[in-house]
Amino acid sequence: MKTVQFELNGNPVSLDAHEDESLLWVIRQQAGLTGTKFGCGAGFCGSCTVILNGEAVRSCVLPAMEAAGSKVLTIEGLRKNGELHPLQEEFVKNDALQCGFCTPGMIMNAYGLLLQNPEPSHQDVVIAMDENLCRCGAHNRIIKAIQDAGKQMKKSVAP
């Protein structure tokens, strides 16, 4: 057992991790944040997506040790002072979910997209989100929620 230190949702943490244990299980079991989901364990479905140093990554295939010294953002870190993040708000307004199990991964992957491309086209969203799987079939609503959030965020940073 080793210890890994990184910044989790803005707070420095020092967590136990087994050798080659994935970031997913350290976040879920050591930090106790269960919003990040286990879906396939092989990086195919995207339910475990978190933001690592500003990029969306699959936490189920990322060794926790590789997160040492990094900034990690999970779904739990999006809400600020009780206010939903525009992505969360737009997912709610657009009913962009059903069972909700893929939702945290969808939102975090979309967060990564909007960091790089604040106003993505429909096609940009499709390409960026293509390997996040949803079985309930909320895809079109998710695309719209992401585009709406992009617009919303642009407005909020405008003077």
Binding site: K37, L97, I107
Partner: protein, 699 residues
């Protein structure tokens, strides 16, 4: 005083405190089988309580897996009872608090359960009006109900709240159904679109699923699985795992489980276990499967017949025959089967990703030799079910391990376990023999589904001579080599793909536009004809005989009383065989609608889930070893496949709700295959329509 169901009134009310409680049963008879399973509430399937504070609590045995009763059931209560929606609270599927329920599947929640809840709410409102008449010294006819108050119609300030009426009283009502329900025209809340009420929890990561429960001292379990289904364990060597720090091993019969506080370490320890197996050798794979099905399904059961097939055949100017093939497919919810279980003071508490909490509780109690009262399933969100979480081996395994070890146990299936232990949609084959007369009318229809189910196998067209059969394997003959079960609209997908592909073939053979061809054979059924015509209009269909080259196709279906059509437009890349569905238009007549927004979500979801089985999904295997065990080899619908979607609900004057969780999923296979035929002239008889198959069919 004892209530009509034989329960002691005081004992019953102890559970609820003071207020007005309406206890009621769902189903034709209050004493139907199964309803008796919870012995302290015989015959009663749901409770509704109006408390002293005027708040209403519905105790319902239903679960939320995305399909939306968490939003729609309170709408029904609030509307019938005339209270504000925010004053209705619902407790879902806590088996200690809510009475027995068969499970959440088959579009039962709105269609059956919702109707009875409405009856109970209507009853409660009638009781409150009666009490108010006494309190206010007014005639019942002079009173009306509004937002939690009973008030005088002529002097609206003369009123009394539900809370004031029930304060300090213990009132139990059990007879339901003697008060008429509101008419659709009287709805204030039902029929208006409502956004989901569980979204905020789900977008913040706060919503808890069964694998999210964390208990002190909890151990994660991994179970030793055979290399192929049905293999027998000959010997096992766990010595290496035993030497690992923190590992605990449970062996009981064929169950070998590795436990560790860390999910990661449990998996590492399992990988060190050496086992010898005797595999169940079967000479079969996903290609030879259909010959196997034809060979073994020899036992005919005739479900329906009309006229005389030989007369029909004699009248045929042209025969059109087809054999349609469907592979095994998986439910594949994004949440794998999971459960967390703990023994506390002789009672077993279980959180399970489960569509059937009560039958699962009953099975666990029976299997572990416990009293049902000592097993509790607790409310939890379910991450997609689609029929796959009717069956819960993981809950049984977690419960057994919790009882054996005395420790809290969490068991989350891996994606591979999710595929292998899923109850798949059965692979099956449908043979249709039919014919046309000179005028282009169908003369006969002989439909046989082999090793699939009979639901909605019977056609609904005007055909004078027909027979519908299910063909099964003889007893003692091996049929399916994987577990099979109910995949969203079980059997209906298979039967509808075959019927609607074949109708399209007949239309082409007759040289008649396929919409026109359907309508000519739907003269007796104006409801279905209306659905087809509305769909064609919204889609912008113009008559043309197939194949027109446009890539237009559609299919019609019936599912739990709802009528549905989906029209699609496809692009087929001729050199690769790749099919892109560009748009889909769905029209559905589902009778009375409680939450049109929720209904549309289900329709869209069905279209997209249906595209998966139509174009991509297929379990591949060698013998009883499954080869498709993760999303690199088993594909479901992805963003790049998603068409523009237009869904429309028919404004039905019907006061009865029909099924809303499944209808469009049943027609997607037929709609896509017909559109591919329209684009290319190639008929594809086997699902999914992979690029290889489409390319080969185009030639």
């Amino acid at each position: 005083m004892r209530n009509p169901f034989g329960m002691d009134r005081r004992d019953f009310m102890k559970r609820f405190g003071t207020g007005l409680v309406v206890a009621f049963s769902v189903g034709k008879s209050p004493l139907r089988a199964g309803a008796l399973a919870q012995d302290d509430t015989p015959g009663l399937n749901a409770f509704l309580k109006i408390g002293e504070d005027g708040k209403v609590t519905l105790y319902a045995g239903k679960i939320e897996m995305g399909q939306g009763p968490i939003t729609s059931l309170p709408m029904e209560v609030a509307d019938e009872l005339d209270v504000r929606l925010e004053d209705v609270n619902m407790i879902m599927a806590d088996t200690d608090l809510c009475p027995w329920n068969e499970g959440t599947y088959g579009s039962l929640s709105t269609r059956v359960f919702g109707q009875v809840i409405r009856g109970a709410a209507a009853k409660a409102r009638a009781v409150l009006v009666k009490m108010a008449a006494k309190e206010l010294s007014l005639d019942e006819a002079e009173l009306e109900t509004f937002e939690g108050f009973v008030r005088s119609r002529s002097n609206k300030s003369k009123k009394i709240s539900y809370g004031q009426l029930t304060k300090g009283k213990e009132i139990l009502e059990t007879s339901v159904g003697d008060v008429p329900l509101k008419k659709v025209s009287e709805f204030r809340i039902m029929g208006k679109p409502m956004l989901r009420v569980d979204s905020e929890e789900k977008v913040t990561g706060e919503a808890k699923y069964s694998g999210d429960i964390q208990l002190p001292g909890m151990l994660c379990a991994r179970i030793l699985r055979p290399p192929s289904l049905g293999a027998k364990l000959l010997s096992v060597d766990t010595s290496k795992a035993e030497s690992m720090e923190g590992v605990k091993i449970v062996k009981e019969g064929e169950l070998v489980a590795i436990l560790h506080p860390s999910q990661h370490m449990a998996g590492k320890a399992l990988a060190t276990v050496k086992a010898e197996w005797e595999e169940d050798e079967v000479d079969l794979d996903h290609e030879s499967l259909f010959d196997h099905i034809q060979k073994v399904s020899t036992q005919r059961q005739v479900l329906a017949s009309e006229g005389d097939l030989s007369i029909g055949k004699a009248a045929a100017a042209k025969e059109v025959n087809g054999i349609y093939k469907d592979p095994y497919i998986a439910h594949s919810p994004i949440e794998n089967h999971s459960a967390t279980a703990v023994m506390e003071e002789g009672r077993l508490k279980v959180w399970a990703s489960c569509q059937t909490p009560y039958p699962t509780r009953d099975d666990i109690a029976e299997e572990l030799g416990m009293d049902q009262k000592n097993v509790q399933l607790l409310p939890i969100f379910v991450g997609g079910g689609f029929g796959g979480k009717i069956y819960n081996p993981q809950a049984m395994e977690a419960a057994r391990l919790a009882k054996l070890t005395g420790k809290p146990i969490q068991l989350s299936y891996t994606r591979e376990e999710e595929f292998v232990y899923d109850r798949l949609r059965p692979a099956s084959l449908v043979k249709i023999d039919s014919g046309l007369d000179e005028a282009g009318r169908i003369t006969h229809w002989d439909f046989a589904v082999h090793m699939g189910g009979g639901r909605e196998s019977e056609h609904f067209y005007d055909i004078p001579h027909s027979r519908t059969s299910v063909m099964r394997a003889a007893r003692d003959t091996r049929d399916h080599i994987f577990y099979i079960g109910a995949w969203r609209a079980p059997s209906v997908n298979t039967n509808t793909f075959a019927r609607e592909s074949h109708m399209d073939m007949l239309a082409a053979a007759a040289g008649i536009d396929p919409v026109e061809f359907r309508l000519r054979h739907l003269e007796h059924d104006p409801r279905m004809a209306h659905v087809v015509k509305s769909g064609a209009e919204r889609f912008g269909w113009t008559p043309a005989k197939g194949p027109s080259g446009r890539g237009y196709g559609f299919a019609v279906g019936i599912d739990v009383g709802s009528y549905v059509v989906v029209f699609v437009e496809v692009d087929v890349e001729k050199d690769t065989g790749y099919v892109q569905v560009k748009r889909a238009v769905c029209v559905q007549d589902m009778g009375m609608v409680v939450n049109p927004q929720g209904a549309k979500l289900q329709m869209e979801g069905c279209i997209l889930m249906g595209l998966g089985y139509a174009l991509r999904e297929e379990i591949q295997f060698e013998g009883r070893k499954m080869l498709t065990t993760n999303y690199d080899s088993y594909s479901i619908t992805q963003f790049n496949m998603v068409p523009e979607i237009d869904v429309h609900i028919v404004d039905s004057k019907d006061e009865t709700p029909y099924g809303g969780g499944e209808p469009p999923v049943v027609v997607m296979g037929g709609a896509v295959a017909n559109a591919v035929f329209d684009a290319t002239g190639a008929r594809i008889y086997r699902q999914p329509l992979t690029p290889e198959r489409v390319k080969e069919a185009i030639g």
